[in-house]
Structure formats: structure tokens, C-alpha cells
């Protein structure tokens, strides 16, 4: 065996000065040589600790072994065996806390760049393998019908898995495209929409029907799907799409957006191509984004790319507590976004046209740890100060849209609006023939955890349908 290499191969990225003005992908991906070099760093540990770090149990050593051997079709097969959406996970998984966190090389040096390798294989497959050679042989149809509500990662992975087991699957999606947050939330420069659509096409190629423009709870209810439309089981994967606001004065001023609205206008409706695409968005010269998670980083980086001169992240704790992925926070700072930490808005100030012109903020300090174990931010009395802004984006989190719970009698929900499942390993709800998974169960979480939940529910739905 070659000598242990403790340094991972760097992945090329667009220069920060250039990328701050375009929506092209920031991370450029490995070249074939770089991918192979990184793959050969893997020592194929007998205990394979990395697999335990992956919520969908990808056989990581196996796909990396195929890569080192130069057998990319085999690497792709191993990935797709466990993960219907590898090009997406390779890009947006928080690998540093998952598969790469448990890689044994991490004890001595940099863990294998598993996400980057996954991305490379998935991209290679999309570019080089004709669709028909990818098509898996499906088992004979079982005659059972499954309805999946929502086409985010939870719904897509549940649908793919259930279809691969021979059942007839229809996905109902409220919006005009499939993909959920992958399409309307995560921006093009982090996750190109063509890649999401290629993965959606893969799911369709398994025989899954996708009905867009279909709001379950309005157009038909869960009970109607089960009792009138002949579905044998329903999987609810409608995510956590309801934006939270702060309830401070001035929040309804023009120019104050929820992150969902801002990102939907930009990503789903392509407002960055306005007026060719007809949905407008106010760009603003001075933009404040409230929050410290991935959603806040994405909003800030979109605002910058749309032409804002100054973009602030306003976060009430310190950098250490920030929930955003480290890599994305660093990318944001490199691009010129200014972090105003230990700062919290008291109110938004408007002009006589109802437009936001400024923000009054408190300075905060960290007190005793709270329920989450993080030190609680407390207001420093008398510390108020003003910031001039003309657009504000509130990125304080989301909860599940109450529509499904309100129109599905017999579901159990928590006080945060999330749907209760009786067992995480199956995703069964207390309602007969209804399963749920993803953000609708956990609250806002991750792409891969939503996919894992979709897969587990699919296995249980299959077991149930086969009696």
C-alpha cells in the first residue's frame, strides 16, 4: 500500500471577486486526475467507519475502490444503489459532520473528501452514460398504488424506492416544478437546477408519475387519495415551508422579505434574469439578512450577486454558535459579506411610502446556556444603534405548513406543527396507511436526513403492502 497521504486534494472554486457577480456554480468539481488522486487516499479500512456516518448507508469504501480502479460505471452503480440523488448530496450534505466526520483518516489528517468524490462520480455518470444503460430492471408490478405528497428530497427518495420495489407511484407537488427546497431554496451557484432536474428525471425513469400544480389538502385530501382514488398508502413529505417572522414593529414594510419569498423569487422564478423572466425582486443597495443558518448565507450571497453594494448578516449569537455550514459561512465572508454578530433587530424603520430605510438593533451578549446547550443571547441595555438598509431578509427558520395537518383528520402533531411518527425507523404516523418523513417530521433539517426518512418509510410501506 502506498504511503498514507494526510492532505486532501483541493477542489477548484471560482475566484471570490468574480463569483460575487454571477450565479454560476462556486465549487467547480474535481478533474478526473484529481478525483483519482483523492480516491487513492482511501485506505479501505476493514471496519468501514465512514458508512455509519452516512444517513443512507452508502457503501463508501466500495464506490471509492471502484474509482481508484478506474471503473466509474461501477462506482456510479454502488452510489445509486443507496442514493437516488448523489449529485445533490455530493454538493450539499454537511459531510464534515456526517460521513467525513467518521472517516478514520480524520484522526490523523484530513478525512477523505467523500462528498467531492460522490459529486464527481454522479456528474461523470450524467455526462457519459446514456439514459438507457442507467435504467434499472424493475420487478414485476405488484398492482399496489402509492401516493407521495411533496417532491422534495424526502418525497423523491421515497418515490424512487417504492417504485424500485414494483409499486405504482404518483407524486403530487404543489409548485410548478419538482424538487422542493432543492429548486426554490438552495441557489443555483450552490446547486445547479439542471442537476436537480436530471435527478428528478432519473426518478421519473423508474416509472414514477409526477403531478405538478397539485396542492394536497386543497385539490384533494389525504383521505380522498386513500378512499376515493384507490391509493393503498400515502407518504407525506411536504417539508417545513412556513416562514417565521419576529413580530417586531415594521416587519410588514415594503422591502422586508421572508427568506422563502426572496429565495423563491430568485431561484424558482429566476428573478435574477428579470425582465426576461417576469418575476421581479427588489435588490436594494444595502441589505440586511437576519439569521445565521444556511438559509441566511444563501440569501445574503444571492443579494450580493443581484448587485447589492453592502450585505450584512445580522446574527444574535457569536460566530461559534452559527448553525450554517462552516464552508458556506467562509465562502460568504470571502465574497465580501459582513457579519454583524451579537446583534438583534429591535424594529424596522420605514419612510412615508412604507419602504424600509433602516433598522434599529440591540447589541447582545452571551449569558447562561439555554435548552439547546448554547449560551443564550441577552440584550445589552441601552445599546441600541441604527443601520441604514433598503432591503431586509428574515431568515429565522420555518415550520411545517399547517395545511396537511388541518385537512388530514387522525394525524398527530406537535406544538411546533411537526407530524408525529410512531417509529423513526418506519416513518409510520398514528393514522392508518399514512407515512411521513423529512422536514415535516423533524422541522427544518438536511437533504440527506429527509432522503433517509423517505427511504426508511419506503421499506416499511413495501412490507405493509406485501402483508
Amino acid at each position: 500500500m502506498a504511503k498514507l497521504n494526510l492532505n486532501r486534494v483541493d477542489m477548484p472554486r471560482q475566484d471570490p471577486k468574480v463569483r460575487a457577480h454571477n450565479f454560476d456554480e462556486v465549487a467547480l468539481g474535481y478533474s478526473p486526475e484529481q478525483a483519482k488522486e483523492e480516491a487513492t487516499r482511501c485506505i479501505q479500512c476493514p471496519k468501514r467507519p465512514c458508512i455509519a456516518g452516512c444517513p443512507v448507508d452508502i457503501d463508501i469504501p466500495e464506490f471509492i475502490k471502484a474509482m481508484s480502479a478506474g471503473d466509474l460505471p461501477e462506482a456510479a452503480r454502488v452510489l445509486k444503489d443507496r442514493n437516488a440523488l448523489p449529485a445533490i448530496c455530493g454538493r450539499v450534505c454537511p459531510q464534515e459532520t456526517q460521513c467525513e466526520a467518521t472517516c478514520s483518516i480524520g484522526k490523523k489528517g484530513a478525512p477523505i473528501a467523500i462528498g467531492r468524490l460522490e459529486r464527481f462520480v454522479a456528474d461523470w455518470e450524467r455526462d457519459n452514460m446514456p439514459a438507457d444503460s442507467q435504467s434499472v430492471t424493475l420487478p414485476p408490478p405488484t398492482g399496489k398504488r402509492v401516493a407521495v405528497v411533496g417532491s422534495g428530497p424526502a418525497g423523491l427518495s421515497a418515490a424512487a424506492e417504492v417504485a424500485r420495489l414494483g409499486h405504482d407511484v404518483t407524486v403530487f407537488e404543489a409548485l410548478h416544478v419538482a424538487g422542493g427546497v432543492l429548486m426554490y431554496g438552495i441557489p443555483e451557484f450552490r446547486l445547479p437546477k439542471a442537476i436537480v432536474q436530471a435527478e428528478v428525471e432519473y426518478v421519473s425513469s423508474l416509472g414514477v408519475k409526477i403531478e405538478l400544480d397539485s396542492v394536497v389538502g386543497k385539490m384533494m385530501t389525504t383521505d380522498e387519495l386513500l378512499n376515493e382514488e384507490g391509493y393503498d398508502a400515502v407518504f407525506l413529505g411536504t417539508g417545513a415551508g412556513l416562514p417565521m417572522f419576529m413580530n417586531v414593529p415594521g416587519e410588514n414594510l415594503n422591502g422586508v422579505y421572508s427568506a422563502n419569498e426572496f429565495l423563491t423569487r430568485v431561484n424558482l422564478m429566476k428573478a435574477y434574469l428579470f425582465p426576461q423572466y417576469d418575476t421581479p425582486v427588489s435588490v436594494g443597495k444595502r441589505v440586511a439578512v437576519i439569521g445565521g443558518g444556511n438559509v441566511a448565507m444563501d440569501s445574503a450571497r444571492c443579494a450580493l450577486r443581484l448587485g447589492a453594494d453592502k450585505v450584512y448578516i445580522i446574527y444574535r449569537r457569536s460566530e461559534e454558535e452559527m448553525p450554517a455550514r462552516r464552508e458556506e459561512a467562509e465562502n460568504a465572508q470571502e465574497e465580501g459579506i459582513e457579519f454583524k454578530l451579537l446583534t438583534n433587530p429591535k424594529q424596522f424603520l420605514g419612510n412615508d411610502q412604507n419602504w424600509v430605510v433602516g433598522m434599529e438593533c440591540y447589541q447582545m451578549e452571551l449569558g447562561e446556556p439555554d435548552d439547546s446547550g448554547r449560551r443564550r443571547p441577552v440584550v445589552k441595555e441601552g445599546s441600541e444603534f441604527n443601520i441604514d438598509v433598503d432591503v431586509v431578509i428574515v431568515a429565522l427558520g420555518t415550520t411545517p405548513n399547517p395545511l396537511i395537518a388541518a385537512t388530514t383528520p387522525g394525524l398527530d402533531t406537535t406544538r411546533w406543527g411537526t407530524v408525529v411518527v410512531t417509529d423513526e425507523a418506519t416513518g409510520r404516523t398514528v393514522k392508518d396507511r399514512v407515512w411521513a418523513g423529512g422536514d415535516i417530521v423533524t422541522g427544518a433539517a438536511t437533504v440527506i436526513s429527509a432522503m433517509g426518512a423517505g427511504k426508511r418509510a419506503a421499506a416499511d410501506i413495501d412490507a405493509f403492502l406485501r402483508g
Partner: protein
């Protein structure tokens, strides 16, 4: 793709579209709306339903041309298709036997108040409808609304037909005469605001159908925030119907003007491209 089964020009700049949308037609109720998108590059816009045929599987909307999307719609014809047509959205208008109800409709809303008036009449109400427009040539569906109501009052701002003046005048007279149990007003925001102001001193509950700017129409973005009785509501899921006496009208009117510059840019560009 959703097919236009019928397009009809009702009056200048106001068009009727009957759309093939069986699933929406099955479920829709008076007062609900749909969101449509003409094509890939188009904006999502909400329109209240003006009618439906559950058997035929069609839904009818009536559109007034104001900006790019509505003008683009105006250029489509029977047999054309649009990319997206989502619904039914929003909470249906609450239909009950109130007693005597006055339904006030301004402009294109003559079309959307008809199913509401009809449902109220079927529920046992005496329905007095007031329809208003700037002038005679902008009035349509007189017979249709007459049939849906117990009584019909027609108003034009310029006096070219029916009564001369604003719809708030006959509304005020009816309220003064007494015996009115409820008012429902639908039309431009400014008209709804003044109808609500007219009925407020009489203490007669007044339902209005708010029309803030929307994107998804399903409660996901918060663009449609309105303030009702001091509480922020999402009009697309909590409404669009609200108690007109509790609406913060100035906020609604201000938020509707959020994109005036962009809308003008888009419309000018569209006009230049089509030579109109």
C-alpha cells in the same frame, strides 16, 4: 399544460377564459382563487374564479388587463394552452343564511361576485347586488348577475348607464333604510376600503376579498402579508376574505405598490416588443 376551452372578450380589456382543469373544477367553491403562469418565463398571478362546470371539468376566470401578464393573457385565444393553473386556493367565502345581503362588485369583480351571490341566494338570503363600472361600455353580465340576485342596482361613475356615481352611494342608502344583515364587497382595493368605511358606522359585518401581491399562493412565502385587527395574516391561506372593518387598508395599498418600477420596465419592454 392547461387548454383554453373558450376565450371571450367581455368588454375592452376584460377577457373571460374557460380553462380545462378537471381537478380544480371538482373542488372549487365560491370566493376561492387559482394561480396561473402562462409559460416558463411568466410570473405566477392569482385570479378569483368566476365560474366552473364540474361535469365538463372547466374553470372560468375573468381577467382585466393591467400589466404584462394580464396583457399577455389578453393576446391568447381559444385552443391555446398555458403552463400552470393551480387551485383551488384560499378559504371559500363563508356562505350562510344571514337574511339580507348586499353584494357590491366593481369592475372585473362583477364576474367573481356572481357565484357568491348565487350561493347566498341558494342558501335562502335576499341578495341585493350593486354592480359598478366607470362607464356603460365597461359593464358586462348584467343579466347574469340579475339572475343570481334578488335585486340588482347598476351604477356608472359617469352616469352613462344606471345610476350616476359611486357604488358606495346606493350601499349607504340601503344601510340607512335598515334591514341589511351583511355586506360583501369585491373589487379594487380602494373601492373595498370605501365600502367598508361606509358600512362601519352601521355596524354591519362587511366581507372583503383582499388582493395583495402573491407568489406561491399556498402559505410558503409570506409575500401576501396583510394586517387584520393588528395581526399579520397570510391572505392566500388565511383569506382572501377578511372583515373589512379590521383591515389595515393603507398597508395593503402600500404593499401593492412594491414593484411599480419593475412592473413598468417589464410592461414597456413588452409593449416595445409587440409594437403596442
Amino acid at each position: 399544460m392547461y387548454k383554453i376551452l373558450q376565450k371571450q372578450d367581455l368588454v375592452p380589456h376584460v377577457h373571460l377564459f374557460k380553462i380545462d382543469a378537471p381537478r380544480v373544477a371538482q373542488k372549487v367553491q365560491p370566493g376561492q382563487f387559482i394561480v396561473l403562469r402562462i409559460d416558463e418565463e411568466g410570473e405566477r398571478i392569482p385570479l378569483t374564479v368566476a365560474g366552473w362546470d364540474r361535469e365538463e371539468g372547466s374553470v372560468t376566470v375573468v381577467v382585466m388587463e393591467v400589466g404584462t401578464t394580464t396583457h399577455r393573457l389578453g393576446m391568447l385565444s381559444t385552443g391555446d394552452t398555458i403552463t400552470d393553473f393551480v387551485g383551488p386556493l384560499g378559504v371559500p367565502t363563508h356562505i350562510d343564511n344571514y337574511g339580507t345581503v348586499v353584494c357590491v362588485a366593481g369592475g372585473f369583480a362583477i364576474a367573481v361576485i356572481r357565484p357568491i351571490a348565487r350561493a347566498l341566494k341558494a342558501a335562502g338570503n335576499r341578495v341585493i347586488s350593486i354592480m359598478g363600472a366607470r362607464s356603460k361600455d365597461l359593464l358586462f353580465w348584467e343579466e347574469e348577475l340579475r339572475q343570481a340576485s334578488s335585486e340588482l342596482i347598476i351604477n356608472t361613475d359617469d352616469g352613462s348607464y344606471g345610476r350616476h356615481g359611486l357604488v358606495t352611494e346606493p350601499l349607504k342608502e340601503l344601510l340607512e333604510q335598515g334591514g341589511i344583515d351583511r355586506v360583501i364587497a369585491i373589487g379594487p382595493s380602494i373601492m373595498m376600503k370605501f365600502c367598508a368605511k361606509t358600512s362601519e358606522p352601521f355596524g354591519v359585518n362587511t366581507g372583503v376579498s383582499l388582493n395583495p401581491i402573491m407568489v406561491d399562493g399556498t402559505g410558503m412565502c409570506g409575500c401576501c402579508r396583510v394586517s387584520v385587527n393588528g395581526v399579520t395574516k397570510f391572505a392566500c391561506v388565511d383569506g382572501p376574505d377578511f372583515d373589512g372593518h379590521q383591515v389595515d387598508w393603507d398597508l395593503l395599498l402600500a404593499r401593492q405598490r412594491s414593484y411599480l418600477d419593475e412592473e413598468k420596465l417589464s410592461f414597456d419592454q413588452w409593449r416595445a416588443k409587440h409594437g403596442v
